[in-house]
Amino acid sequence: MMGATEEAPWIRWSLTLAALAVLCLFLLLPLLMVFSEALRRGWDVAMEAIAEPDAMAAVHLTLLVAAIVVPINTVCGVAAAWAIAKFEFPGRAVLVALIELPFSVSPVIAGLVFILLFGAHGWFGAWLQEHDVQIVFALPGLVLATLFVTFPFVARELIPLMQEQGKDEEEAAVTLGASGWQVFRRVTLPNIRWALLSGVLLCNARAMGEFGAVSVVSGHVRGETNTMPLHIEILYNEYQIAAAFAVAALLALLALVTLAAKGLLESHTQRRSRPA
């Protein structure tokens, strides 16, 4: 017997096949292309492109930016999600909209805003120059732009979950004598840990891969303010195709590791969720 919500087998099969075809064509094939292009002129050429000082500097810078941005956005994302999910306060709706903002605004605009604020002719430009602080075209600018673009990932992952869980358990913990920190560490955090890790990994993937906003504030100083995506673009524009793809393959590899970690976590979560 066919269930009421089930379609005929041929419909199911053709839908599945169509989805798989699209998946292969638009997701898997480009990824394979990246690796095959990277290795087309041989392993040594690819390695050389990666070991080249400017490329290494780009790798270092990308990892450094991610290492600064991800922890900050994790803490801020948890704080924002906590506030939104567990409390009613004036301006709550505004805060929700603000969290979504980086997703709705083009990253290029985000980058331009930072130039307008901190650039030489920007609002704070004169003051910053007086005090010899370099934000735009330097690490702080890259960090700010990446912070902005990747802010929503952690908060958005957590808000629906925390809203669904309510604050009953936190209240119970408080009546049992737990302090604010104990409530967070022993009750709130364990309840959100998988969603949190998943949000952190997504945030990390985007922080390493961000192009638009970073491109505007970077200034493209080779070996200094070029992150991996920017370095790849420069190589590509200079017709160093093999080198461009070699660095791209490394970036893709970093993203794949992140994705694999997320997949592992999710399968772990499913194993942990027990029958009622």
Binding site: D168, E169, E171, A172, A173, V174, T175, L176, G177, A178, S179, Q182, R186, V187, P190, N191, R274, P275, A276
Partner: protein, 254 residues
């Protein structure tokens, strides 16, 4: 310990959930807060427990003014309507929680905690469930875990919000009898919220009938039954909603 509520008012926006409530619960007694949805009974219970703050009036527990005492320091055992068990902890860890979060100086050793948790689990007759998680046990069993967890901190007052609301009739009846017996044994001052008058009259030493944020009547079940001349009490006792328990009712007071 005794609980004294004096002139407590609590507003949510323009609505007064509590409107000058006075109530004295003597030490060791078993009191029901009875009333329809929205009458303020849950808000009153939460205010006593320190989860809501009164806009005016005072709460005293054992004679001590609770105005500046946060919930975590009130030493009040609170059983939530939907139990609010920690879903990521075993039954054992749920009950041990109140002991584990104590400041180091007052925290019992591990062996001591184990012994006391096992005693409590035996007291509520679920000793065999200590390794289970909350989603692996029945509603009645969860209720018992919630009670054991609240008792673990050796509370001076026990507060129960619709303790049997989410259970089916048979389990409810069984737990009622058992809870009354437990109270007779422990003599712990207990206040419970219910909208079911049969439950209130069967269990409590004294019943406080609430309506529109006020105490409409307070007395033994017999005097309340005799107080039908009081319009609010008569109205509530006459409504079918007052007698027919609705298990699926959401926590309407919040």
């Amino acid at each position: 310990m005794s609980v004294e509520v004096q002139g407590v008012t609590r507003r949510f926006g323009s609505v007064a959930a509590l409107d000058g409530v006075d109530l004295t619960v003597p030490a060791g007694s078993f009191v029901a807060l009875l009333g329809p949805s929205g009458s303020g009974k849950t808000t009153l219970l939460r205010t006593i427990g320190g989860l809501e703050f009164p806009d005016a009036g005072t709460i005293r527990i054992g004679g001590r003014d609770m105005s500046d005492v946060p919930a975590r320091q009130r030493n009040v055992g609170f059983v939530f309507q939907h139990y609010a068990l920690f879903r990521h902890m075993t039954v054992f860890e749920n009950v041990a929680f109140g002991l584990r979060v104590r400041p180091r100086a007052r925290r019992p050793g591990n062996a001591d905690i184990t012994r006391r948790v096992r005693e409590l689990l035996a007291l509520v007759h679920i000793g065999e469930l200590e390794r289970r998680y909350p989603d692996q046990i029945s509603g009645g069993q969860r209720q018992r875990v919630a009670l054991a967890r609240a008792l673990a901190i050796e509370p001076s007052v026990l507060l129960l919000d619709e303790p049997f609301g989410a259970l089916d009739a048979k389990v409810r009846e069984e737990l009622r009898i058992w809870l009354r017996a437990l109270h007779d044994r422990l003599r712990l001052t207990t206040i419970f919220v219910t909208h079911d008058q049969a439950e209130a009259f069967a269990l409590a030493d004294k019943v406080a009938v609430m309506a529109a944020g006020r105490i409409a009547a307070f007395g033994t079940p017999e005097t309340i039954r005799g107080a039908r001349d009081n319009r609010l009490v008569a109205e509530f006792l006459a409504t079918p909603a007052g007698s027919a328990p609705r298990p699926a009712e959401a926590r309407a007071e919040n």
